[in-house]
């Protein structure tokens, strides 16, 4: 069903809801397209007319600064008209359903919705009910997926480490509640990394996680041993209340990425984080700001990757020059 929903009859990407179901080829096409957009951000005039006249609505039912901003910049660099809507809880408290909100905005002739929602499956539900000329990009739904984050992380890894086939990658932190982790796992599995590990206490590992094709580790020292890429996840502070972890201090001691723990990874390992970081909770500042960190480049690449996804979805072609005017 995922494939049918994300692709049109000609097999072109119509929505981006999840990385699950995307082939290695489609992912590489997105990464290659993103590569060609990197230079746009480095020019003096950071704009190309690819999506001129198109209307993009950033529809955020859950607050976000980084993701929303990078989507906005990406759309503007493609010359689209962008509207940001932070719906929050206000719309639902007025009794308007999610679909009503979408239908109203659709009536204003929106071409693309970038949707973030606190419930898993929200983007799928919307994609199922919009007319075929309207596109949806999932900017994060509950614990389910954050596909552009997974793609930009893959992009970052390729830029800094090269071929995926030789890499050992560890994802560390709150796997259970993380949409980022799910999308990272699906992207890296599709791209064929040599080994993919997840590292967390059992309280933060989902049931049957190995069915996602990863090796679970509960001890950070073992999980980081010899890896080429360390992908840290943000830990929500409210997890302390749910009896999932005892204290920030104990979590940092066991799972915080310190220079000493990073030393167990390969010497030239890179450190990633989707942001925003909790310094001193999941990551030590010395690592976050250290020479192995690629956390800020991730943000920069995020714009190019989101431009690529928008261009491919709305232009229907891998080549930016061949896109619709």
């Amino acid at each position: 069903m995922t494939q049918n929903l994300q692709f049109d009859d000609a097999g072109r990407l119509r929505h981006l809801l999840t990385i699950e179901g995307l082939s290695r080829r489609s992912i590489l096409e997105i990464l290659d397209t993103a590569e060609s957009f990197i230079s746009v951000g480095q020019r003096e005039i950071k704009k190309i007319p690819l999506l001129r006249g198109r209307t993009v609505v950033n529809l955020f039912f859950e607050s976000s600064t980084r993701t929303r901003t990078t989507f906005e910049i990406a759309a503007k660099r493609l010359s689209a008209d962008v509207i940001n809507l932070n719906v929050g809880a206000s719309s639902t408290s007025k009794g308007e359903t999610l679909l009503d909100t979408i239908r109203n905005l659709e009536a204003m002739h929106t071409d693309l919705f970038v949707v973030r929602h606190a419930e898993s499956g929200a983007a799928h539900m919307i994609a199922r009910h919009v007319p075929s000329h309207v596109h949806i990009i999932n900017a994060g739904d509950g614990r389910h997926a954050h596909p552009t984050q997974g793609l930009l992380d893959a992009f970052t890894i390729r830029r800094h480490k090269g071929a995926f086939e030789k890499l050992k990658v560890a994802i560390v932190g709150d796997i259970l509640h993380s949409r980022v982790a799910r999308s990272q796992i699906q992207a890296l599995k599709a791209l064929g990394v040599a080994e993919l590990r997840v590292v967390a206490p059992k309280t933060l590992l989902p049931m049957a996680v190995e069915k996602l094709g990863v090796h679970p580790y509960t001890r950070m020292e073992e999980g980081l041993d010899g890896v080429d890429v360390v992908m840290m996840l943000r830990l929500q502070r409210e997890r302390m209340q749910g009896a999932l972890i005892p204290s920030e201090q104990e979590y940092f001691n066991l799972y915080g990425l310190t220079p000493a723990k990073l030393a167990l990874a390969a010497k030239d390992a890179i450190v990633m984080h989707p942001g925003p970081m909790n310094r001193g909770l999941e990551i030590d500042s010395a690592v976050a700001d250290g020479p192995q960190s690629v956390i800020l480049p991730q943000v920069t690449y995020g714009i190019a990757v989101r431009m690529a996804v928008m261009a491919l979805i709305m232009g229907g072609s891998a080549e930016p020059a061949g896109g619709r005017r």
């Binding site: 069903m1 995922t2 929903l5 699950e20 359903t97 999610l98 679909l99 929602h117 419930e119 898993s120 499956g121 929200a122 799928h124 539900m125 009910h129 739904d141 509950g142 614990r143 389910h144 997926a145 949409r179 799910r182 989902p206 049931m207 049957a208 996680v209 069915k211 996602l212």
Partner: protein, 425 residues
């Protein structure tokens, strides 16, 4: 003077009948002859059931009719029509209506509403605690007098174990049956799917199998101590039915049911957030479905019910966790059960027993059988009719079902209530 159903294959498991026998019904709606016309019988009306199966009207232990309180989803009137179209002649209605069935007046109101339509009989289940709040007991004797056939807190958990113990002791005093939805509310937490592969893939909060087994273990310990007769509703896991099997071996007065959909679907049917598969308890894994089927065959589970929960269309047009749980299931109860015969799990008489006299025994009513003297609640179905479930074919107000588009074999052609033909295809 009366009605005869001729030439059908009469299957009446309670009376050990399976064969080509005509059924004779008098004007008062009682069975007066099986296989042989009583002296002086003259048929005013004849139903030719050639090629069809004639069996007792089906008894559904759990169907929510949404009235009173949620009439925008369905009404007693709409759902009793759906019931008879599905061959169901007796329904049990859980007490979680608005207001709750915790007073004799409410119990009587629901029955009298149903009687007005002269279609399926509705037996209310009374609330075990007032307002289903899990604190104070209801007037069980008065509710029993008012027609309640069992007592339950429905899906509202009784978290206070002492209240549960007292409720069971009191029910045992009056020799009433307690219907249990065994689930540990803390382990359930905010879950909406089975805690397993699919929940992990889709990022949906899971309900662990242990939520059910911990609930069953607690309730079994209290049943053992209080001697209360108890019926476990809606079991979903293989481990829980194994615990019930063990309790039965030890001689505890327990029975159990399962929904037709849990016998056919698993968590994998959720696919990409198919909200039609959002049910409670959740669809679990293949191993669980196998365990439930095995328990059905061995007799540990003695009834299949619909757990009918009609919804308005908007209820399912929401992100998965926020969608309304439940299936509009009256009209798939018999077809899904007949599939178990096709799957070679059950014989046809075994399948019919699980929909008729066995559930009737659990609620202590004498329907579900067609011996001489029985009320002639009859279901006639064509076991070879192939048909596809579509929104148009549904009689229920609720169109929320994951089985749209499924092809079934076996379709109800006639339903009689008290000897009166109330549905004909």
């Amino acid at each position: 003077m009366g009605l005869v159903i001729k030439n059908g294959r009469l299957i009446d498991p309670a009376n050990g009948v399976d064969g080509r026998k005509d059924l004779y019904i008098d004007d008062n709606g009682f069975v007066i002859g099986v296989g042989k016309a009583p002296p002086g019988f003259k048929a005013k009306q004849t139903i030719d059931a050639r090629g069809k199966v004639v069996c007792p009207g089906l008894v559904d232990l759990r169907a929510r009719l949404r009235e009173p309180g949620l009439e925008h989803m369905a009404t007693i009137e709409s759902e009793v029509h759906a019931a008879v179209a599905a061959g169901i002649t007796t329904l049990c209605c859980p007490p979680d209506t608005y207001p709750v069935i915790d007073t004799p007046a409410m119990a009587q109101m629901i029955q009298s509403r149903a009687w007005r339509f002269e279609l399926a009989f509705i037996h209310p289940l009374g609330a075990l605690t007032q307002g289903l709040e899990g604190k104070r007991l209801t007037d069980m004797e008065a509710l029993d007098e008012a027609g309640c056939v069992g007592f339950t807190n429905a899906l509202a958990p009784i978290t206070d174990t002492l209240v549960m113990r007292r409720a069971m002791e009191y029910a045992a005093t009056l020799e009433l049956t307690v219907f249990l939805h065994a689930e540990d509310p803390w382990l359930r937490d905010g879950g909406c799917v089975h805690e397993g592969e699919i929940g992990t893939r889709l990022g949906l909060a899971g309900i662990p199998e242990a939520a059910e087994t911990v609930g069953v273990a607690r309730d079994l310990a209290l049943i053992e101590q209080t001697g209360c007769r108890a019926h476990f509703c809606n079991l979903s896991s293989g481990r829980a039915v194994a615990m019930i099997a063990e309790a039965k071996r030890q001689g505890l007065p327990v029975s159990a049911d399962v929904t037709a959909h849990h016998l056919h679907l698993t968590e994998h049917d959720i696919g990409d957030f198919n909200t039609q598969c959002h049910v409670h308890p959740p669809l679990r894994g293949m191993r669980d479905r196998k365990g439930l089927r095995k328990a059905l065959k061995s007799g540990v589970i003695s009834a299949i019910c619909s757990d009918h929960q009609p919804h308005e269309p908007d209820a399912k047009l929401a992100p998965f966790a926020q969608s309304g749980p439940g299936i509009s299931a009256l009209e798939t109860l018999l077809p899904l059960t007949l599939r178990l015969v096709d799957d070679k799990l059950l014989t046809l008489p075994e399948a019919i027993a699980l929909l008729t006299h066995k559930p009737a025994e659990i609620i202590g009513v004498d329907t579900g059988q067609l011996g001489v003297g029985a009320t002639a609640d009859v279901c006639i179905f064509d076991p070879e009719a192939h048909w596809v479930l579509t929104e148009n074919s549904l009689v229920s107000r609720g169109h929320n079902t994951p089985f749209l588009g499924w092809e079934f074999r076996g379709r109800v052609t006639h339903t009689l209530i008290g000897g009166k033909l109330v549905f004909e295809l």
